[in-house]
């Protein structure tokens, strides 16, 4: 009998272009307090803590160690960290709860993109011998993907603009970019400013709990029915950029295709990537996609994937969704993808 595990609380910052006035731990701490307050738990009550962040964004080694000051890791805590988006930290915490070693977990992620040039920083993710020396930036690579989709007649520029407009029509108060936003000039053809995510800083946190503990802590827990993640080859030359087989496989393993979902939170930083993900996940027009605005409304790198899981769970907590899919991505052009299926108890 597999243990039932749920997301019982979610909190996030108001995402901003720049947080020069805050250190990372100062940005993170209010979110940690908020998510704990929602459950009435204190740090000492948490069985396992796991976080996701990147030294390259922070511009210093071991940047995550300072975040522990925000957690208040005293007495010492059972804790781990992934150099990945916080969605994968949630995955690690989920496995920890499955073993029965813990009944509750605190998961958090944060990223400040503002101190550096994000487009340049992300080139350091690429093959260090053959690709990174050419400094191909994240927008240029996403543009290759968008153009491949257009060439395959799977989308066109007006359709991409519609994705952007729909995403930013959100009423999400945490969003960095919302309302009518001009679609703008080309950044890298065929992508215009409106096709690209805003660059900004932010943090998010989630609490997981198992079985009856989840029911105690949350009126309507968002049960994780399945969660899986898969990676594709790194070299863009050997991938079909118009498809996302790793997303499809992760969705299959997570049980996403067993029954339709009503809501989907997709981590698609660029408009064209939503087209790719919708196809891989077989989402039709009846599914509410990214009511939060998705990464096109706020994209704090390293936290944006965890936020998709949090937003999907929060929709279930609020009773706005019954079965939701959450997706997170990492790497150039959707190289690595995570899919989770969340459900609320019948109402």
């Amino acid at each position: 009998m597999t243990r039932e595990i749920a997301v019982v609380a979610f909190a996030q910052t108001d995402h901003r272009r720049s947080t020069d006035d805050l250190s990372e731990v100062e940005m993170l701490m209010p979110v940690l307090h908020e998510v704990l307050d929602r459950t009435g738990l204190r740090t000492a009550d948490i069985g396992f803590t796991c976080s996701g962040s990147s030294d390259y964004l922070a511009g210093r080694a071991f940047s995550f160690t300072l975040a522990l000051d925000g957690v208040g890791a005293w007495p010492p805590i059972s804790e781990s960290h992934v150099e990945m988006d916080g969605a994968w930290a949630l995955y690690e915490a989920w496995t920890k709860l499955l073993t029965g070693d813990a009944d509750t977990a605190l998961v958090y992620a944060y990223g400040k993109s503002s101190p550096g040039s994000l487009r340049d920083v992300l080139t350091r993710q690429l093959d260090p011998y053959y690709v990174a020396p050419l400094w191909p930036d994240s927008v240029a690579l996403a543009a290759l993907q968008a153009q491949a989709l257009i060439d395959a007649h799977e989308t066109d520029e007006p359709a991409l603009a519609a994705v952007a407009a729909r995403s930013r029509a959100t009423d999400n108060p945490h969003a960095q970019l919302r309302g009518p936003v001009p679609h703008g000039d080309y950044v890298v053809r065929p992508l215009r400013t409106g096709d690209c995510p805003p660059i900004g800083d932010g943090a998010a946190a989630v609490i997981l709990a198992a079985g009856d503990r989840a029911r105690e802590l949350c009126e309507r827990p968002a049960w994780i029915r399945g969660i899986d993640h898969r990676i594709e080859p790194h070299s863009l030359g050997v991938r079909d950029l118009t498809d996302s087989p790793s997303t499809r496989l992760a969705a299959e393993k997570a049980g996403a295709f067993e029954r339709p979902v009503d809501t989907a939170e997709l981590h698609a930083p660029f408009t064209a990537q939503e087209i790719v993900l919708r196809k891989a996940l077989r989402l039709d027009d009846t599914v509410r996609v990214n009511p939060s605005g998705g990464a096109l409304a706020a994209n704090p790198v390293m936290a944006a994937g965890l936020i998709r899981l949090g937003e999907a769970a929060a929709a279930i907590h609020r009773g706005e969704a019954d079965r939701a899919l959450a997706h997170a991505t990492s790497g150039p052009c959707l190289q690595q993808n995570l899919v989770a299926v969340l459900e609320g108890d019948p109402r």
Partner: protein
């Protein structure tokens, strides 16, 4: 719900050296992974998921290198996790991989950790720029030397203890073909007359900078039953963390280390570690950390750890051998160093440690720590399956 028992059925590491200029980063990790698979007599197709770890990305200048390494690690189409918990990461990575099996999410997992320090300069990579740190702390030695000094003052240990540890570990390394430093002409006098780097830590009492990787194949009970060689069984594993600096922190014997060991011993039903554990691979980057960790891990009472070292208890033929492989003092590919401790502990209980094998090891402890003595990861492995 009980946890699935976890077995180590494959172990591989590279020959650790100052600079592996003959291989790329991908070539380095693949070499260790390939050797672990060969040891387990498995192929890439037998692996369900990959968990990789390394210390800060700045050490190679590649952001989240697991993305680029997916192909080399045979991870395409599979789940790939990347762990980073500072110096303890090699141990934490193995524990995350073991967790996937214990939770019955996967049956067989490849775990790998590496550092290719020759790609940059780790000492300066560890010396954070102003405003993050005052400009006095050059490298890890600058951070830890005052804590060693505090231990010496607190315990009253003679000044020579550190050199005994270094002399022992460097001689043990001569029996380990994978060790970085093979100092055939080492003498105690040479250790004691080597240059002072960070008083009281001398050059010969300091770990080298290495390029290296370590990999293990972990599997469930069914996988262990198919294994060609005796498996090592995990009897307990834990991680603990505490903040870097705070009023009341005991930098000499951190509570996170004590709590972590206590959790592992509880799981493994060990009440007297000194008597019930046969050998230890502990993370000793500076020689004095051997007596310090002997106390922190409960092998000696507070202030008494140096007496075990002085009496030869921790020698290869002693009553409680420590760092049979030569330890971190002889090889330090930082991100891999914790996993090497875990793997060497497993080699001992499997009886596969070669020339540095200790006879009759039934239970061995693997230990790793990192950050400002604040992140701890440990596992206890045994020759027999855990009693459930």
């Amino acid at each position: 719900m009980s946890k699935e028992p976890v077995a180590v059925v494959g172990i591989g590491q590279t020959k650790h050296v100052a600079a592996r200029r003959d291989v790329s980063i991908a070539g380095l990790v693949r070499e260790a992974a390939r050797r672990a698979l060969d040891d387990a007599e498995l192929t890439w197709a037998d692996i369900d998921a990959v968990v990789i770890g390394k210390a800060p990305d700045f050490f190679e200048g590649v952001m989240m290198p697991e993305l680029y390494l997916a192909d080399a690690l045979g991870a395409v189409g599979k789940p790939l996790l990347r762990v980073h918990t500072a110096g303890s990461v090699g141990g934490s990575t193995a524990l995350v991989a073991a967790g996937l099996i214990a939770a019955r999410v996967h049956g067989t997992v490849l775990t790998c950790a590496f550092e290719k320090q020759s790609e940059s300069n780790a000492m300066w990579g560890l010396s954070l720029p102003i405003p993050f740190q005052q400009p006095l702390l050059a490298g890890a030695g600058g951070f830890f030397a005052p804590h060693v000094r505090a231990y010496m003052r607190r315990s009253g240990a003679p000044d020579t203890i550190g050199s005994l540890v270094a002399y022992k570990d460097r001689r043990n390394a001569l029996k380990n073909p994978f060790a970085h430093l093979h100092e055939h002409d080492i003498t105690l006098e040479k250790v004691q007359s080597s240059p002072m780097l960070w008083d009281p830590i001398r050059y010969s009492e300091t770990c080298p900078s290495s390029d290296g990787a370590c990999a293990m194949v972990l599997t469930d009970r069914a996988g262990a039953a198919r294994a060609p060689r005796p498996p090592a069984w995990m009897h307990g594993g834990a991680m603990r963390s505490e903040p870097t600096l705070f009023a009341g922190k005991d930098a000499v014997s951190p509570r996170a280390g004590k709590d972590c060991a206590a959790d592992v011993y509880r799981q493994a039903r060990i009440t007297d570690p000194r008597r019930e554990i046969d050998a230890v691979e502990m993370y000793v980057p500076f020689s004095w950390y051997e007596p310090m960790w002997l106390e922190n891990l409960g092998f000696a009472d507070e202030g008494e750890g140096w007496k075990l070292t002085e009496a030869g208890v921790t020698e290869l033929d002693g009553d409680l051998p420590v760092n049979m492989s030569g330890g971190v003092l002889s090889s330090n590919p930082i991100g891999a160093s914790g996993m090497i401790r875990f793997a060497e502990a497993a080699l001992q209980v499997r009886g596969q440690a070669g020339e540095h094998q200790v006879e009759g090891v039934r239970r061995a402890l693997g230990h790793a720590y990192g950050g400002g003595s604040q992140f701890f990861a440990m596992w206890l492995v045994g020759a027999e399956p855990p009693s459930t």
